[in-house]
């Protein structure tokens, strides 16, 4: 494997992604965690870009780094929340945790190692968006529509939740 700009970029992005993930777990302040998460999202988007999945990359940034994070920040900043009062875990618990993580790592490693996706030549570089569109509206129409129903349910659910809170507020 020769050293190319792509490789350097990949390692850079991967490093940021992992670092973001690690920071997400280790940081104590919730807002800091969200910012770490943003970096993970962004570098994942960068990796998509390297894979010529322009559209997915952009949507990743638009939806995850943009909208979702901001909604998370919004929620965190406006609501009351208790910081860092997790009880310390016992030694046994920690041991099992490590064991589980190791097991998971082995399983994933084996899974990926043995994975054999039949490679088919695609023209991903050209008109990436158009291809996604065609796939979506020919092969995957039903899942696509079902997904929209799901989102609608979520939307209605959110309204119901917010409304309920309002009424409670009135009573109290």
């Amino acid at each position: 494997m020769s050293v190319s700009g792509e490789l350097i970029a990949f390692f850079g992005l991967a490093l940021v992604a992992i670092l973001g993930g690690v920071l997400l777990i280790t940081l104590t302040k919730v807002v800091h965690m969200v910012i770490a998460l943003v970096f993970t999202f962004l570098s994942i988007a960068g990796i998509y870009l390297l894979l010529s999945a322009e559209f997915v990359a952009i949507v990743q940034i638009l939806i995850y780094s943009g909208a979702i994070t901001i909604v998370m920040l919004f929620g965190i900043m406006l609501t009351k929340h208790r910081e860092n009062d997790e009880p310390a875990k016992g030694g046994w618990q920690r041991f099992f945790l490590l064991l589980a993580i190791a097991g998971f790592a082995v399983a994933v490693y084996l899974g990926i190692y043995n994975l054999d996706i039949p490679v088919q030549p695609t023209a991903l570089h050209e008109e990436n968006t158009k291809q996604i569109g065609i796939e979506l509206f020919s092969k995957y129409v039903i899942p696509f529509e079902v997904m929209s129903v799901l989102l609608l349910v979520a939307l209605v659910g959110a309204i119901v939740l917010a409304k309920k809170d309002d009424e409670e507020g009135d009573r109290s």
């Binding site: 302040k29 807002v31 949507v59 943009g66």
Partner: protein, 335 residues
């Protein structure tokens, strides 16, 4: 040229060329910001019966902004004691970096463009969203109630207005069949989209002013309510970063408007002996002038009215525009 560079093996030379080009763009943009601010102040002065800057750099005040920037750089950098220090430092960077990133895909002429990616249009919207995270972070990290409210407003506003902004452009995408900015410009060789998509243009102008956080949508930094909003606590070069990113976005948004609706570098028929760059500059200046004009004329909206306007007026109209465009396109296709 740039495309070839991208696919070649990395070498010091390539890196040097890249770096050189980036620096060149940086200076172009900084030059714009310097004189963009000056011209904004001059136009505002003209409209408000004032003279505007006229002391430093001759009677046109040509060095005023340079002096301002120098002053900002040597000003004391204050960090409030109770601020969230790492985020306070990081926030201007998060707000500022995307402002330059969006410039990468914008085509200024058919030769002067850095990256010609397929989803250029979405790229702009997506990347500019990251700046909002910077603004929200700044508002939170300052540990000041005014800046927190400013940050909140910025977030709410950005989410609400990004949607009509993108929706207004779907009409153009339908007509062009591409999200690529070069293709969009090419499609306007005969008729500019401002004539084919007038409704979309109006929605886009309104939503873009809102995305730029300028009057009448400058709620995140409404000085009469929130003193200065999210950057109350910032000073010196950190504050300059926010200001700079604001003007770089203005530069980018004026460019985008030109590219999307005014035919980019395309000339008016029979006048194509004038270089493309000049055509682009003229259209760009017109958009910039309108942005300043809006700022001078209008009072500010209220936060809830802003939200209502975005969701209840702009979004439905934008959706109707998409519908209308699709129908017309199909009818035209029939014949």
């Amino acid at each position: 040229m740039i495309k070839d560079l991208l696919h070649s093996a990395p070498s010091l030379l390539n890196f040097g060329i890249y770096f050189g080009l980036a620096v060149l763009l940086l200076f172009v943009v900084l030059g714009f910001v310097t004189y963009g601010i000056l011209s904004e102040r001059k136009i505002m002065g003209f409209m408000q019966l004032r003279i505007g800057p006229n002391q430093i750099g001759g009677k046109w005040g040509l060095l005023q902004t340079v002096a301002d920037v120098l002053k900002l750089l040597i000003k004391e950098d204050t960090i409030p004691k109770k601020a969230d220090r790492p985020l306070y430092i990081l926030a201007p960077v998060i707000a500022f970096a995307p402002a330059f990133m969006v410039l990468a895909t914008l085509p200024f002429t058919d030769a002067f463009q850095f990256a010609d990616i397929g989803v250029g249009l979405l790229y702009y919207v997506a990347i500019s969203g990251i700046s909002t995270i910077g603004i929200v972070t700044a508002g939170w990290a300052s540990n000041n109630k005014y800046s927190l409210i400013g940050g909140m407003r910025a977030a709410a506003q950005m989410i609400s207005y990004e949607i009509p902004l993108v929706m207004s452009l779907v009409g153009i995408v339908l007509l062009t069949g591409s999200l690529n900015l070069n293709d969009i410009v090419a499609a306007q060789e005969k008729v500019w989209f401002i004539f084919l998509q007038p409704i979309a243009f109006i929605i886009f102008m309104i939503a873009s002013v809102a995305e730029l956080n300028r009057v009448p949508f400058d709620l995140p930094e409404a000085e009469s309510e929130l003193v200065a909003g999210y950057h109350v606590e910032y000073s010196g070069f950190r504050w300059a970063f926010f200001m700079l990113s604001e003007y770089v976005y203005m530069f980018a948004m004026a460019t985008l408007t030109t590219v999307l609706f005014l035919g980019g570098w395309n000339s008016i028929p029979f006048l194509d002996f004038i270089p493309q760059a000049i055509w682009f500059g003229l259209k760009f200046s017109a958009v910039f002038y309108i942005l300043v004009w809006i700022r001078v004329t209008f009072p500010r909206l209220r936060a809830d009215q802003l939200m209502e306007f975005g969701w209840k007026v702009l979004l439905p109209v934008a959706l109707a525009n998409i519908f209308l465009t699709a129908i017309i396109k199909e009818i035209v296709n029939l014949f």
